[in-house]
């Protein structure tokens, strides 16, 4: 039950994109097409869970040695290596999966959402299971926002957007209204 509430809270109430402001760059950049967003969301979910597990273990080590301040450096190194490894392996093992998800992998290294969630897991003092659930539901939240958003953008492609706001500005404005709508979920858990 607690975990279910955690999922709902993370996906809807404290949506990683719309209220935590993490992973905005891919949110704006890769949201032109619904299909691409689906691939991106899946890739993020995969890496986010994996990275959370690995950094969770690293953190145990850091805490043991009393060098928690090394968090940023070690996390990013590990995440970067991890992503690259996944990419290489995926390319060989399952080219189909690679062409569906793999192309998003490099983009994910420099995505605040992954590192951000890893750090948040630490700050919220989760144990491993809630940490994984938390990471996964953040990825879900990211996917929810991204896919909805790309649907809107695909539709806007057919609309007559005034020149000044075409492109990036309108994307932000849509995100703003979406964020406003999601405020409705405030305190739902």
């Amino acid at each position: 039950m607690e975990l279910i509430l955690l999922i709902i809270g993370t996906v809807f109430v404290n949506n990683i994109v719309l209220s935590q402001f993490l992973g905005i760059c891919p949110f704006i950049g890769v949201s032109g097409r619904v299909n691409t967003s689906v691939g991106m969301s899946a890739a993020v979910a995969f890496v986010m869970v994996l990275a959370t597990i690995v950094t969770y273990i690293i953190q145990l080590l850091l805490d043991k040695l009393g060098i928690a301040f090394m968090q940023t450096v070690t996390y990013i190194l590990v995440i970067a290596a991890l992503v690259q490894m996944v990419e290489i392996i995926l390319k060989k093992v399952s080219p189909a999966l690679y062409s569906a998800l793999g192309i998003f992998l490099p983009l994910i290294t420099t995505n605040c959402a992954i590192l951000g969630v890893a750090i948040l897991v630490y700050q919220k003092e989760f144990t491993l299971l809630p940490a994984v659930v938390y990471a996964f539901s953040n990825a879900l939240g990211f996917g929810l926002a991204l896919i909805t958003f790309s649907g809107i953008r695909e539709q806007l492609e057919l609309a007559n957007i005034p020149n000044g706001v075409k492109g990036v500005p309108i994307a932000f404005i849509v995100a703003g209204i979406l964020a406003m709508a999601f405020m409705g979920f405030a305190n739902i858990v």
Binding site: L18, S19, Q20, F21, L22, G23, I24, C25, F27, I28, G29, F69, M70, Q71, T72, V73, I76, L77, A80, A81, T109, T110, N111, C112, I114, L115, G116, I119, L120, Q123, G164, V165, V168, P169, I170, A171, F172, I173, A175, G176, I177, A179, M180, M183
Partner: protein, 218 residues
């Protein structure tokens, strides 16, 4: 390249926020007030300048295949240094118990490491240019970023809390509209302080900059 132009380009022509739309998370997440925006901008500038300088120094010696990991480590180190320094020296709460600057920026300080601007400049500029150029480039882009964040912060603060850099402009201003309203107590449109306002304000700001740029180009 003329260093002055090199410096200036970060403000308008190659402004990381308005033009490249990079580093959006801190841009949105830390601009609830002008001062936070400025703080975040300066912290990023610090990392950007130092990593630019170091990478332009070291680029020659780093083999191609490991350059990205090496750069990341270098950048991450500077980020950690900023983090430590800010934790030590900008962590004093305000007189009425307002959260400290460090608390306000929170998560976004370590996240400088994944800010695309930093790695992007390292790779695209610093690794190929002289130390001075890289320094100026880092300063220009960094301050351009800081400028954008401060501007956005100021706009959101003015609209959202009727103050700027903490200074209340509300009192006199609101009376112009309707002295009778609650407004004179200095409420702004709170939506602008909240998440939606960040997106909206940034959207319109970029649109405005686009239009200006187009006019300017003509």
């Amino acid at each position: 390249m003329n260093q002055w132009n090199n410096f200036l380009k970060g403000f308008i022509k190659e402004n990381p926020v308005f033009v490249f739309v990079l580093g959006m998370c801190p841009t949105l997440g830390t601009t609830g007030s002008a001062i936070n925006g400025l703080g975040m901008g300066l912290a990023t500038t610090f990392v950007l300048v130092l990593s630019n300088v170091f990478i332009s120094l070291l680029a020659k010696y780093i083999p191609d295949k490991v350059r990205i990991p090496s750069y990341i480590v270098i950048i991450a180190s500077f980020v950690t240094i900023v983090d430590l320094l800010m934790k030590a020296y900008t962590n004093t709460p305000g007189p009425n118990g307002e959260p400290s600057l460090y608390d306000n920026l929170g998560l976004f300080i370590p996240l400088i490491v994944v800010n695309c601007i930093v790695l992007g400049r390292a790779e695209a500029f610093a690794s190929k240019n002289s130390v001075t150029s890289s320094l100026v480039d880092g300063l220009g882009i960094g301050l351009g970023f800081a400028f954008a964040l401060t501007l956005l912060g100021a706009i959101r603060e003015i609209l959202g809390s009727m103050s700027v850099f903490g200074w209340k402009i509300a009192e006199g201003f609101a009376q112009l509209f309707n002295p009778a309203t609650e407004y004179k107590q200095g409420d702004g449109m709170i939506a602008f302080v909240l998440a939606p306002g960040a997106f909206l304000a940034l959207g319109y700001l970029i649109a405005f900059m686009n239009i200006i740029k187009k006019r300017y180009a003509k």
